[in-house]
């Protein structure tokens, strides 16, 4: 009995996940033919609350692509993979305090800010480097124009409020 109820509960959850995934997918399906441009898959996955790294995203794309990549991802292939991701709660987002500590690592002398040049250096040379466009986008919101630096605590607080 408990098993049945559990199964029914999971079925409901899966059904709701399916609808959520469908909604997100459809918004990017410009031609209304159940495909999206592969370059928008990352946006779709992240809009569903997951935070894969670039490497993890690359692997996910490989899973949903056609045998012979066409540049388009079909919904039929995307749905089961994405459902698994949501059910397994993979690629959980970064908590606020982890993000803060990451900034503090890059600011060992604890000034409370990073200079423009420092941020650019770290973001474009380390880890999974930003493209120029990504860098400019981040700077436009993060840099305090008077001091030309990034007060990361304020920046994080602002971003968190914006998302809530």
């Amino acid at each position: 009995m408990a098993d049945d109820k559990e199964r029914e509960g999971t079925e409901l959850v899966v059904a709701e996940y399916h609808r959520k995934i469908k909604e997100a997918f459809e918004v990017f399906d410009h031609e209304a033919n159940n495909t999206v441009d592969v370059r928008e898959i990352g946006t779709i996955i992240r809009s569903l609350g997951c935070c894969p790294s670039e490497g993890e995203l690359h692997d996910l794309i490989a899973e949903v692509e056609e045998e012979e990549p066409t540049g388009y991802i079909r919904y039929e292939k995307f749905l089961p993979v994405m459902t698994e991701v949501l059910l397994e709660r993979r690629y959980r987002p970064i908590p606020e305090d982890t993000l803060l500590r990451a900034f503090e690592v890059l600011d060992p002398s604890k000034r409370g800010f990073l200079t423009r040049e420092e941020l650019i250096k770290y973001m474009t040379e380390e880890g999974e480097p930003f493209s120029q466009e990504e860098m400019e986008e981040m700077l436009s919101a993060a840099v305090d124009p008077e001091s030309n630096s990034i007060h990361y605590k304020d920046y994080i607080a602002m971003m968190v409020v914006d998302e809530s």
């Binding site: 609808r19 909604e23 033919n33 779709i44 809009s47 790294s53 503090e104 880890g127 990504e134 986008e137």
Partner: protein, 661 residues
């Protein structure tokens, strides 16, 4: 990652410490990058959602607009009742809006330009100096005097009359052509295009692919610049008609209002001539015999040979479908593209049958002006807009092959990047009004073409500030705007929505599951939107994830113009206010802003029965009376409709930037 091991070791670090430090930095960078990419993606998704809201409401509105044509047909069927009372009314509505000879002398010579006028003075025959003059004057916010507007309109009509339905254009290695899409009254975009690409001239050809007017605030200025440029360079500046080059569309979408506001004395005259000028705009342009440039799209029955031959000026408006005047009295039941049944009858109006296009020709033009390409194969009615059709890649191939063409360039749809290529590269959409829905909603674009070379695309976006705002602020603006109009739409269907919610809420708990709520919203509003993703903006949820459905209406209500008036009455009038606006404007042929109480009642009766609205006549009478509109037996309908405006209680304040745009 704990902060304990991240302390600065000072100088004299060993190589392993150095490695550890750089490893920490690497990890930190990864965290920040990961977080940022997630955040940025969610911003872009929100932007897309906002765009989807704008678009679906825009198309739903257009559909409502086109349903009006059914209403007019219905009115015609029942005209005998109004005919007795007011034969003028019918004549006014169905043709005969123009009197006989629109003598140029009659119009222009009676409009004097006073010495005190500081605006641009055009000199006929026009030369390139006049183009410059206009551009400079409009940059300084000057308004062109009605005298010149009328002169330009008359002259434009005279020259357009000589043009064929499709302009044939040739390019050469030294002569490219630039194609621009919808401008919709956005003068800054036109200025930006001219800045980047140069003014039109004998060596700088342009095609403007329709929808120059409506929505934006400078439709008149755009029209004047385009018409003057056309008169100076008739072989190098090409204009195609769009679905908004239609006097009835202008009634609803703002151009009529703009004209009457800017030209208080002579606006009526201008409107009358403009109606005519629109009908003489060519249907399309053909480049090098292989590229077809039209505003909307095609259908499976598109016949270019036929379209070359039709008398295009008989296509007055999308809202005036031709009535067949057969001797044959058998009810010739025909379904319009929107699926409504229309029974044409023999009609005696001022308009003779030779002044209308035959039905199949009229439909061909509608298809050209209203259709949209889609990925799905085949051709089926464009249910979003209510006119024209959706055409698939197979239709494109079929029609292009049939007429030995290689590509179709069209506009009509707003695209985030300003342009979009589909149907295997055979169909290109170009849209030139950036920030169309809201600041930050989309870029504008234009295409440069030459001979056998691949088309080149140029994008731009007008910004109000000298430095553009960060992405998250622009998205916030767009999102707030979109949510706001969505809420207004929800409010206009409040009664129906509540009924739908209650149907599903058997236990009367006031709560529904996400799925139930989304289903009710989509079904009642008829808008295909990502309801689950939008729900945080629209309703409150309890800790179990269930929706408190009445919270849908908590921070928005319609200001009641009269306390005692029933909610359903208010809601209905609010929902139909755009339609009523159009109908009133049509009745008010002298554009005085007033119609008589009888006209109002007659119109309301018909509207009531056609749309099956359950409002008693006496309720409307009472309302009109209470609002004290019955001065001299006439109604200022603008005031009447303005009274139904919406109040948003909780305006989401834009943080950081302090003010809402």
């Amino acid at each position: 990652m704990s902060t304990h091991d991240l302390e600065d070791m000072g100088c004299g670090t060993s190589s392993s410490t150095k490695d550890r430090k750089s490893e920490k930095a690497l990890k930190a960078a990864l965290v920040i990058q990961n977080w940022y990419r997630g955040y940025s993606a969610r911003l872009k998704a929100r932007q897309r959602y906002a765009l989807t809201i704008f678009q679906s409401i825009e198309y739903a509105d257009e559909q409502g607009q086109l349903q009006l044509s059914n209403f007019f047909s219905f009115m015609l069927e029942n005209y005998t009742q109004i005919h007795e009372k007011d034969p003028e009314l019918v004549a006014r509505l169905f043709g005969g809006t123009l009197q006989d000879a629109k003598d140029r002398q009659d119009y222009v010579s009676f409009v004097d330009v006073p010495d005190s006028y500081n605006g641009p003075r055009l000199q006929f025959p026009l030369t390139f100096t006049d183009i410059d003059l206009l551009v400079e004057a409009f940059k300084k916010q000057q308004i062109l005097h009605a005298h010149y507007v009328l002169e330009v309109l008359f002259e434009t009509k005279r020259v357009l009359k000589q043009m064929p339905n499709f302009t044939q254009v040739k390019t050469s290695p030294t002569k490219e052509i630039t194609i621009c899409g919808d401008l919709h009254g956005k003068l800054d975009d036109l200025f930006l295009i001219f800045y980047k690409n140069g003014l039109p001239s004998g060596s700088n050809s342009y095609i403007f692919n329709g929808d120059f007017v409506d929505r934006g605030k400078h439709s008149m200025e755009i029209l004047m610049i385009l018409f003057v440029s056309f008169l100076v360079y008739p072989n190098d500046l090409h204009l195609n008609r769009g679905n908004h080059e239609d006097f009835m569309m202008n009634l609803r979408y703002g151009f009529t209002k703009e004209i009457l506001h800017k030209y208080k004395m002579h606006g009526k005259k201008i409107l009358q001539i403009l109606e005519d000028v629109y009908t003489w705009l060519p249907i399309g342009t053909i480049i090098d015999n292989e590229i077809l440039v039209i505003h909307g799209g095609i259908s499976e029955s598109t016949d270019l040979n036929l379209l070359h031959r039709i008398e295009r000026h008989k296509m007055k408006s999308v809202l005036m479908p031709p009535i067949s005047v057969d001797e044959d009295h058998d009810a010739d039941l025909r379904k319009t593209k929107t699926g409504a049944n229309v029974v044409p009858r023999e009609v005696k109006t001022n308009e003779s049958p030779s002044e209308q296009l035959p039905k199949h020709e009229w439909e061909q033009v509608i298809d050209i002006l209203w259709s949209d390409p889609r990925g799905k194969r085949g051709c089926y009615p464009n249910t979003s807009r209510g006119g024209g059709c959706y055409f698939g890649p197979d239709i494109t191939s079929k029609i292009l092959n049939k007429f030995q063409l290689k590509m179709l360039i069209r506009s009509h749809e707003c695209k985030p990047e300003g342009y979009e290529i589909c149907h295997d590269g055979k169909v290109v959409t170009v849209f030139s009004a950036s920030n169309y829905y809201e600041e930050g909603s989309n870029r504008g674009a234009y295409i440069k073409l030459c001979c056998d070379m691949t088309p080149r695309f140029f994008q731009y976006q007008v910004t109000r500030a000298t430095c553009s705002r960060p992405l998250y602020q622009r998205v916030n603006t767009m999102e707030s705007s979109a949510i706001r109009i969505l809420k207004e739409r929800m409010l206009s269907r409040k009664t129906d929505l509540i009924r739908a919610f209650q149907l599903q809420d058997r236990s009367k708990s006031g709560k529904l599951s996400m799925g139930q709520w989304a289903f009710s919203m989509e079904n009642t509003l008829g808008l295909n939107l990502p309801w689950r993703s939008l729900s945080p903006h629209l309703v409150t949820t309890d800790k179990n994830g269930n929706i408190n459905y009445m919270s849908t209406f908590q921070d928005i209500h319609i200001q009641k113009p009269v306390k005692e008036a029933q909610s359903t009455l208010i809601e209905t009038l609010y929902r139909y206010r755009s339609d009523l606006q159009i109908i009133f404007n049509v009745i008010d042929s002298d554009h005085s802003g007033l119609i008589s109480m009888e006209e109002f009642r007659a119109m309301w009766k018909l509207f009531n029965s056609h749309y099956s609205i359950h409002i008693e006549d006496f309720q409307i009478d009472e309302l009109a009376e209470r609002m004290d509109l019955n001065k001299d037996g006439s109604i200022d309908f603008n005031e009447f409709l303005k009274a139904f405006y919406v109040v948003h209680k909780l305006e989401k304040l834009n943080k950081s930037d302090g003010q809402s745009p």
